[in-house]
């Protein structure tokens, strides 16, 4: 789970020896476009007509080729985006842009066996991430782009399918491998009004200046970046099964990021994000300064805090930290396609119907939830990226594993998608999380949880336990070749002592463990769920997700020393904190 928005890749740089081949989906800043914005009536975009015409023409011909195309879909994503960033008290950039991206998916073969079938665990190559589509509604120009992209994707799909057929005959198939490659789903026709926003960048320009200049007051903060983004994204998707979808969403985000360095050279980052959907729900100065003050306080504490030693002992994770913990340790392993892939650890593949968690815990993934309490959820969506409506899925019911997050890649026993096939623009969808919600019926108040933590410390005869207040996106090995372990990086960790001494902030630890063991060690939870909103990165790129959980108390958590930087702290003090002021000594 990566908390920060990934850097967007910009223009082609052919000759660069460090060529970036990932989905080059840019959101270039476009000021005051002359291009027509479709009006906001709930009527289908005029672009569907040309998409349909080219789809029909393509299916008619490509459907009779050898191998035949049996499924074609076109997706146009229209993105309007405003970005306003500040750093160290000045405006870094302030841009507005619009972009349209065309993706064509072509599947050759049949639902049972097609060009996406993994051979030896390798995903066959596809025909690339797609292409820019014109911003102007010019039917002929769009049609030309669709024509070329369809041809390219068909070529890649045909080539892949021929190789798969050649390879498949000599491979012994595993049981999971017998599931079809693509599920049959009923088509959807849906039109929502066009999502868009208008906003004045000036107030945000002033706000990011002021917020980042606040951080300059602290000598512990080497660099600060605050970024406001507003994004309206509208999707037009049609496929050869008869789906025709038009849906869109506006999202706003404010991200606070500061960097510092401990005396031993360890890099320390602190980060906080606000996400909201209605312009009126933007955080006010008070809320932002409260978050900024918290980050600053943590940074100032962390740069002088001691390194912690490896230990195994009881730990309390606050709600947001617990949410990230579940996302990493459970959520990724409950992604359907991981149960199918012979290279995956398939931690939970054979555990359906068995208890994997204490019986007081249930977990659902529910992309249909817009909010939890007052908090907007970033993992909300109407339709996934395979034209399937997002569904609430009970993954764990009172400790017993029930189901998986499913895309249109079915499993034996799970023949259908539950609307979790997701991708970043340019990538092929796989099953991903939406809103992962952890529910508990064994709740304690915060004070009771803490008392219980102290009790566990004493019981186990440990000198201290850990209170974990924030966790960064970790990485989690789900592959079979790797240890079935997880590692998450807690950012704010306190030692809690049994003897009543004040808590001590420490740094330099990673939480490690194996998921099946770690999840069963949870002994109690808090009574208030907290939400983490972020962008999660995996095979199909970055997708917006939420995770929500109450605080959890675990009887045993293992932490190890984390790798540190060998860089030294800055030689001179920050200019604003230099006792020998201004120009220095000459």
């Amino acid at each position: 789970l990566n908390q920060q928005t990934s850097a967007t890749l910009r223009r082609r740089s052919y000759l660069s020896l460090s060529i970036l081949l990932v989905a080059g989906v840019a959101f270039p800043g476009v000021p005051r476009l002359a291009a027509a914005t479709p009006d906001s009536q709930e009527k289908p975009s005029p672009l569907f007509e040309v998409m349909k015409a080219e789809l029909d023409r393509s299916m008619k011909t490509l459907g009779t080729q050898d191998p035949p195309a049996y499924f074609v879909s076109y997706t146009i994503t229209d993105t309007q985006r405003v970005t306003v960033s500040g750093s160290n008290g000045a405006l870094l950039n302030s841009d507005e842009g619009r972009n349209r991206w065309l993706e064509v998916a072509v599947r050759t073969g049949s639902y049972d066996l097609d060009n996406t079938h993994k051979v030896d665990g390798r995903q066959p190559p596809n025909g690339g991430p797609g292409t820019n589509a014109p911003l102007d509604d010019d039917a002929e120009v769009l049609r030309r782009a669709i024509w070329l992209e369809t041809d390219k994707q068909y070529r890649a799909a045909a080539e892949a399918f021929i190789k798969i057929k050649a390879g498949k005959e000599v491979k012994v198939q595993t049981e999971e491998g017998r599931a079809p490659d693509f599920s049959r789903e009923k088509p959807h026709v849906f039109t929502s009004s066009w999502a868009s926003f208008t906003l004045d960048r000036k107030p945000w320009e002033q706000r990011v200046r002021e917020y980042t200049s606040y951080f300059r007051q602290s000598a512990a903060v080497i660099n600060s970046i605050i970024t406001f983004t507003a994004q309206a994204q509208n999707t037009l998707q049609i496929n050869s099964e008869g789906s025709q979808l038009q849906f869109g969403q506006v999202r706003y985000r404010l991200e606070l990021f500061i960097q510092g360095k401990a005396a031993d050279g360890m890099d320390i980052d602190r980060y906080y994000n606000f996400d909201w959907v209605n312009a009126g729900d933007a955080p006010d100065d008070k809320a932002v300064y409260a978050a900024a003050a918290q980050l600053r306080k943590e940074m100032e504490g962390l740069v002088v805090s001691p390194l912690n030693d490896p230990m195994v002992g009881p730990a309390l994770l606050t709600g947001r930290a617990a949410a990230v913990f579940f996302h990493e340790v459970f959520g990724h392993r409950a992604e359907g396609h991981r149960q199918k892939d012979v290279n995956e650890g398939q931690t939970f593949a054979k555990k359906v119907g068995e208890p994997i968690l204490p019986s007081f815990l249930s977990i659902v993934d529910d992309p249909t939830m817009k909010k939890l309490g007052k908090q907007d959820l970033l993992g909300y969506f109407q339709f996934d990226d395979e034209s399937v409506n997002g569904e609430r899925v009970v993954l764990v019911d009172h400790g017993v594993l029930k189901s998986f997050e499913m895309s249109r890649s079915p499993l034996a026993g799970f023949p259908h998608s539950n609307g979790h096939g997701r991708r970043q623009i340019g990538a092929a969808p796989v099953s991903r999380q939406g809103n992962l919600i952890v529910e508990s019926n064994k709740t304690l108040t915060n004070a009771e949880l803490r008392a219980k933590l102290v009790e566990l410390i004493k019981q186990q005869g440990k000198p201290y336990g850990l209170l974990i207040d924030d966790i960064a996106g970790g990485f989690t090995f789900t592959g079979r070749g790797q240890p079935q372990a997880f590692q998450v990086e807690p950012l704010v960790v306190y030692k809690v002592f049994a003897d009543g001494r004040p808590d001590e902030l420490v740094r330099g630890v990673d939480i490690v463990g194996t998921p099946l063991a770690a999840l069963t060690k949870i002994v109690a939870t808090g009574d208030t769920p907290e939400v983490f909103n972020g962008y999660c990165g995996a095979e199909s790129g970055y997708v917006p997700v939420s995770a929500a959980a109450p605080a959890i108390l675990t009887s045993e958590l293992e932490v190890q020393k984390k790798q540190t930087s060998t860089d030294r702290p800055p030689i001179l003090p920050p200019p604003a904190h230099d006792a020998a002021k201004a120009g220095g000594l000459r």
Partner: protein, 608 residues
């Protein structure tokens, strides 16, 4: 500060706009912040190196800042694709440890120090004092630490060598102060989005062009330079480009590309809609011609480069040879070899006084030139990126090598800079041409040159000979990364001497008729090939282009031609050139498969 991605730093110094002498009355705190952080760093930046505990300090620090205001508009077939307008400020701090004789620079080491913020980055665009101080502080710290690390690696490497060069690492210059008033961007009252739509719509009359794209790229910059030697520069620059690429497949599956480009010192100087439509129509017609033209065959014999192609050939073949700086020391021999095979080594170093071109030919690089016979040049500037005033340099006189272009990096022939240290922002300055004039004291009229060419053809008893009308710029004409990668791979070890002609004709001496061919490539054409030229025309052509600044191949023959987004403006003025013997290789390479479905319809659209 936001750390720069590699892709973000290809942006260069542009044609200098007029400077007036009035004192700045703006609220620009940039130079003050740079001066104050420089003073503190000079006085107090110091590291104790563990084994000896000996203090190390930087002997040279340089602050560079590029303030960019960029518009980019892309359209295809009359429809807008993207349109952006961004203002950014990029900072780059360089520090050197050691002394002028031997320092931390010019060394490609195994692995560099990577600071967590780094000496380059995007900084605030407010021209304020406090945020820039903060950014300069950490960038200086990182640059200094990188220099200390590189210096120790370089010393270790040098001590392993049997013989060390006595060429110094950095030449001294006189500090200059040059402050221009802040300029405001003038986008003129032209509607760039509409122009891009209208010009790109010209290609709608060629439904068989599969893809085409027209880009307008308009840039204003203010550059700042402050060095610990006391040089202070604030200068304004601008630059404008129209670049278009287009492609199709011939019936046999060979991909054929074409391009169009126009460059100007300011957006207002760019050609208007009708002129661009006309040129795009020419390129489109040629592309259609190439599509159905026969493929080129292997050929050795006389080749006439008409002036438009000759100027590009001169740029490509001679560009890397003009540099008099010592190439970087590489930690690994393989890096040295790679650079050589890409043509990064000057063929002319250690040849001062020798004849390198025909005796009638002179070669002059003049950064102060603004135009040539009414055509605007784009390669000019007043002060180079190292703060050295630009000088006009006579490189070759009467065929003999007199001078080389110099940055502050000394070479085996010359030590002092002549104000040619240029590079895209964030890349080390290297000697680079500006406006290059290839002139001859004996020239032939167009007809005489043609006659000489055909006579040579007849005396060789060839059925036909080759005329090159235009050279390719694959950075513009090739529209897809994978195709470009294939092209690079096809050069193999000949990247330094293979040339890509674009518009190539066979001329049959029997009756004088001409025939367009496709897929030709010139091989084995090195700077030495220019020593003997059979005939030189009197038809000078101004070739404005962008010198590629992409990492790895900048300054190599392979990287001669870039784009507005990744290049450094340059102009070459040269006449038609006739060579007695050039090797042309016929079409090679994998054909592509034709689209399964025929192209959908495209209706022509006029402008307005």
């Amino acid at each position: 500060m936001r750390q720069l991605s590699l892709a973000a730093i290809f942006l260069a110094v542009f044609a200098s706009t007029a400077a007036s002498s009035q004192a700045p009355t703006d609220n620009d705190q940039t130079m003050r912040a740079m001066r104050d952080e420089m003073a503190r760093s000079k006085a107090r930046l110091e590291l104790q190196i563990p084994p000896s505990g000996k203090p190390v300090r930087p002997y040279y620090i340089e602050y560079r800042l590029l303030d960019m205001d960029v518009r980019e508009v892309v359209a295809e077939y009359g429809a807008l694709v993207t349109s952006t307008h961004n203002r950014n400020r990029l900072m780059n701090v360089a520090a050197r440890v050691g002394d002028y004789k031997l320092d931390s620079s010019n060394f490609i080491s195994e692995e560099g120090f990577r600071g967590f913020i780094g000496p380059s980055g995007n900084v605030g665009i407010d021209r304020d004092y406090d945020s820039l101080r903060q950014d300069l502080w950490i960038a200086t710290d990182q640059a200094f630490k990188e220099a200390v690390e590189t210096y120790s690696r370089k010393q270790a490497y040098l001590s392993s060598l049997a013989r060390q060069s006595d060429i110094e690492d950095f030449s001294r210059v006189e500090a200059i102060q040059h402050m221009e008033p802040l300029a405001t961007s003038d986008w003129s009252n032209r509607n760039w989005e509409q122009e891009a739509r209208e010009t790109s719509a010209a290609l709608r009359v060629f439904p068989q062009i599969y893809e085409s794209r027209v880009m307008y790229y308009l840039v204003y910059t203010t550059e700042y330079l402050l060095t610990s030697e006391g040089t202070e520069v604030r200068s304004n620059h601008s630059f404008a480009a129209i670049e278009a690429g287009m492609n199709t497949l011939a019936d046999d599956g060979m991909q054929v590309n074409h391009y169009y480009s126009a460059y100007a010192p300011r957006p207002a100087d760019l050609p208007g809609v009708e002129a661009v439509r006309k040129q795009l129509n020419v390129a489109g017609s040629e592309l259609m011609g190439m599509r159905s033209a026969p493929t080129a065959s292997d050929y050795t014999g006389p080749v006439l480069f008409e002036s438009r192609a000759a100027a590009a050939l001169v740029a490509e073949a001679l560009g890397p040879s003009l540099s008099g700086a010592r190439p970087p020391l590489a930690f690994q021999a393989v890096v040295e070899q790679l650079m050589s095979s890409l043509g990064a080594r000057s063929d002319w170093s250690a040849k001062v006084g020798a004849r390198v071109l025909p005796e009638t030919v002179s070669l002059v690089d003049d950064p102060s030139a603004k135009e040539y016979k009414g055509t605007l040049l784009i390669g000019g500037y007043a002060i180079d990126q190292e703060g050295v005033p630009a000088e006009k340099v006579t490189i070759v006189a009467n065929g003999k090598l007199k001078n080389l272009l110099m940055s502050r990096r000394p070479g085996s022939d010359f030590e002092a800079s002549n104000g040619h240290g240029r590079a895209a922002f964030g890349i080390d300055a290297r000697p680079t041409m500006s406006n290059l004039f290839f002139t001859a004291s004996e020239t032939l009229s167009k007809d005489d040159l043609k006659k000489k060419f055909l006579d040579a053809c007849r005396s060789e008893k060839l059925d036909y000979c080759i005329v090159v009308r235009q050279m390719d710029n694959p950075s513009i004409s090739v529209m897809h990364q994978e195709d470009f990668t294939d092209l690079l791979a096809s050069f193999g070890g000949n990247a330094a001497t293979d040339r890509l002609p674009l518009v190539v004709y066979r001329v049959y001496p029997a009756d004088g008729h001409e025939e367009l061919v496709r897929g030709a490539r010139i091989t084995g054409f090195s700077p030495r090939s220019l020593r003997n030229i059979e005939g030189i025309g009197n038809d000078d052509y101004v070739y404005n282009y962008m010198q590629n600044q992409s990492a790895g191949i900048a300054g190599t023959a392979l990287g001669a031609f870039g784009t507005a987004q990744n290049g450094l403006p340059a102009s070459v003025v040269a006449p038609s050139l006739l060579f007695e013997e050039v090797e042309v290789r016929g079409a090679r390479g994998e054909p592509k498969r034709l689209p399964i479905l025929p192209e959908p319809p495209m209706t022509p659209k006029g402008s307005k």
